[in-house]
Subunit: 383 residues, 2 copies
């Protein structure tokens, strides 16, 4: 049996901020209401929430029902879905499944995260192995630093190999009203002069800690045009896992979960890597952006950094990434991030990206990374 085709019919994005005046529930409910208003609907059948840190930061373990209540969606199905730092994409996949199965006709996927309330970094480390890695001091930042060091050693790339990842992201964030760093410029010089966070990672290699919420509304493709002129088709949704720990993988620079989920999504949508017009990837760290470009097949292993060096990742380049600033400069409120990515792809594919518009964008790809790429989730969108 083929899944029922599904489209995105509405989007909502709250501004990403270092510290929002809104509470987590207010952020989430406002994003939901904005997405419903954009879709022209007052109600949905189901709500799926993405969030990683509320257990520790807000003391909340029942977030989906809370957000449904806060948004005034009485009686609705509401569940919380997680895959560590890929939790927003997990919520999108579930919303896709409930509509694709025929169990619901309207669903909202919402992501919300409020990291400014303290303790985010130790809670983020819980994406790793609590028995084998964390007790030995492992953190997400440390794991990405190891990958970057290994990459540099193996491929002997120049000192400034990764510099254009943040430079492009910050340039694209300038015209995104929801970006946390819309006021901040980054040049190769400022990137290379920024302080070292965890060698060899510099400040500009890392996405910031911030607050935000975003949402998208899904409907069956055959009904989408009745709701909006701006519908975008969800061509594929795919989740894959790798050996959980980096240390257990044959080659930690080959992101197997990213490769598997990209290949499955390409097959499902009947496209190949050359058909992708833009790629909202998980640039929580510059090295992760580079490795994802390689895993999906945009570059050979060891060549991902060249796409940045050659500015092929810019809005006019061969494979634009982070077109509204990415995790680096739009910001990375963890569980919300994938819903921002999805909303941005919708804007691109419907020609509403303004000064950030990628020309003739017809197929958009998005990937979200859980932990040290133990989970990778791919979605493909098309018009």
């Amino acid at each position: 049996m083929s899944p029922r085709p599904v489209s995105i019919i509405g989007i909502g994005q709250m501004p990403v901020e270092r510290a929002s005046a809104r509470s987590l529930r207010e952020l989430g409910a406002d994003a939901i209401r904005q997405a419903l208003a954009d879709a022209g609907v007052e109600r949905v059948d189901a709500l799926f929430a993405g969030n990683m840190l509320a257990d520790e930061l807000q003391g909340q373990k029942h977030l989906a029902a809370l957000l449904a209540d806060e948004a005034g969606l009485r009686g609705v199905e509401a569940l919380h879905v997680r895959a560590a730092t890929a939790s927003g994409a997990a919520a999108l996949r579930m919303a896709y499944l409930v509509v694709a199965s025929g169990e619901a006709d309207l669903a909202v996927a919402v992501g919300a995260e409020k990291m400014s309330e303290g303790g985010a970094v130790p809670a983020l480390a819980k994406a790793l192995d609590a028995e084998q890695e964390v007790p030995r001091g492992a953190s997400l930042i440390g794991r990405n630093a190891e990958l970057m060091r290994l990459y540099r050693e193996r491929y002997h790339c120049p000192e400034d190999a990764f510099v254009n990842f943040p430079v492009v992201a910050h340039a694209n964030a300038r015209h995104n009203p929801n970006a946390v760093f819309r006021e901040m410029r980054a040049t190769p010089r400022t990137v290379l002069a920024s302080r070292v966070i965890y060698p060899p990672l510099r400040l500009f290699d890392c996405a910031p800690i911030c607050d935000g919420a975003a949402a998208v509304v899904l409907a069956p493709r055959e009904q989408a045009r009745a709701y909006t002129e701006h519908a975008v088709n969800l061509l594929a949704s795919s989740v894959a896992t790798d050996r959980f720990r980096l240390d257990d993988r044959r080659d930690s620079l080959r992101l197997e979960a990213a490769r598997l989920s990209a290949q499955a999504a390409f097959r499902r949508a009947n496209v190949n890597v050359n058909d992708i017009d833009l790629f909202e990837l998980h640039d929580a760290f510059s090295i992760m952006a580079c490795l994802l470009l390689e895993a999906a097949g945009f570059a050979a292993p060891g060549d991902g950094w060249r796409l940045a060096a050659e500015k092929a990742i810019g809005l006019r380049g061969r494979i634009p990434i982070a077109t509204f600033g990415g995790l680096k400069a739009r910001g990375h409120p963890i569980g919300a991030t994938a819903l921002y990515q999805a909303a941005e792809i919708v804007l691109q594919l419907t020609g509403r990206a303004g000064r950030n518009q990628v020309r003739a964008a017809r197929i958009g790809m998005m990937q979200s990374v859980g932990g040290a790429a133990s989970t990778v989730i791919t979605h493909l969108f098309g018009v």
Copy 2:
């Protein structure tokens, strides 16, 4: 579009224990392997994990990918689904959706919880409202105590009105090798003499803190018979929410989410309450069992306790509940509980319940409650 019909083709249950020698990941992986072996499959396309407390108790926020790795399921889709204390049922619903949609042909829903590692009770309170309830001292036990007090006041039921809920549960647990209390007897006298935990709740009105894991394997109904003689159809899966806080509801003794999700499930399966042969309900507290019987329509409001008093809830009664001991006496390792319930219903409907067999059982119902019934999830099974 109608969802593709789905069946359960394999089950796995680890013994529920006060403190297991196995780690959380070992419990989960063992339950998965047992369910796969029971189904006669070596691999699944997707894994959905239910768990509520690992963030705090095991420091683990990326559990689904970890369990997939531990169980040797390389590359598989793996996501973690939650609805507080109903998290196991949330995982079952997602596994249902992935197969019903046609996105996967084989999925496993696994629940695992290890509560013996300390701090479970404060973490459980995070099922309530962290801003409005918990700072005022609310807990899940306290909320259920309030419901019981209100019920007693409104309906003037006798002192021993609820006593048969634990008596029946403990009697049924005696022949369940996986029950935590298979050695413990309960009589009306011992129940009424047990210590008060939170007035008017006595020890025997409350499910215990314990460790456990269970899993079920799902496949398309049309393929189920190729795998096993013991397939059971998943007739309906339904989630509903209520106003999040008890205080915001018109009548806190009417469990609106339970009513809504039961009614939706009955409609989907084209059955009514009189067709249900057994009901694995969420008897975390005696009062919750009583209110769920009323919400689903087995008794009028105020009459749920009479079903217990009249022993209509026994194995030979009109509506058997907790047929293998229920949450009260099989045990309630939170995120695993619904998968035990599902496995037990499979045993009942396939005539493999041994001394606990409900005669001529053809349709089984199961409900899981998130928090103070802010979320209720209903599943119906049939042969």
